[in-house]
Amino acid sequence: MDRIPILKMGPFLLVTIQVDLYDRLALNLENDLISMVSKTGARGVLIDISAVNIVDSFMGRILGNIASMSRIMDAETVVVGMQPAVAITLVELGLTLQGVHTALNVEKGMDLLYDRTDLLTTQEDEDNGEDPDDYND
């Protein structure tokens, strides 16, 4: 197996990494995700790494790359489900995943994506025809 499946869910792309990553697999994922963002016009990418036992500097860099590339393509990236041991190891390794949004689980990650991309507020705007800013002022 040398490809990780990418699912399209409404305006977002969803990736669940269920296998042990090696470098080529991670690079393929980076390429596939960016072409999918461009092809589908997705506004967000959610990567679930709850089944990933190891994130080393290379895979950390790939996650960072995916986030920066997606941002340039007008999509937000959220990494969810990081195991505590992986988080401890990453920080000690010296990798802080700057610029990558994270959330504890898929549900919170989806909320964050909706938040960051303003998709829900846009829908509400259409429903009641008012600008949400009016309420704040």
Binding site: Y22, R24, D56, S57, P84, A85, E92, G94
Partner: protein, 137 residues
Amino acid sequence: MITMTKDTMQIVREQDVVPFRNRVRELSTKIGMSLVNQTKLITAASELVRNMLKYANGGKITLEIVSKNGQNGVRLTFVDEGPGIENISQAMLDGFSTGKSLGLGLPGAKRLVNEFDIKSVVGTGTTVTVTHWKNGR
């Protein structure tokens, strides 16, 4: 230090990294290492095996369960016949890389394990030995 078990693995291509990481996990589980310490050791091993593949096209790894003062640990020895490292103290600095990576591999791996030793002869090869003890100290 007494060696309790010993075996070797040959690394020639990227996919070999996955069974190697699994073998390290097996050994550290066998001696009762905690999940965080396992993750640290495997992440360090993952960095070192990548270096071996990237700069020396692979090499040989010795995996041992060792014992010192009644405490068990896992010792990994990475031997390659690559170009060697000209300036080891420079290679051990965070952010230094002759490749296009983040330069976290060697210094990061050193931070993650209890004992770290590197020897290199230019034109002959590099040997890295890491030991991680059961209680992580």
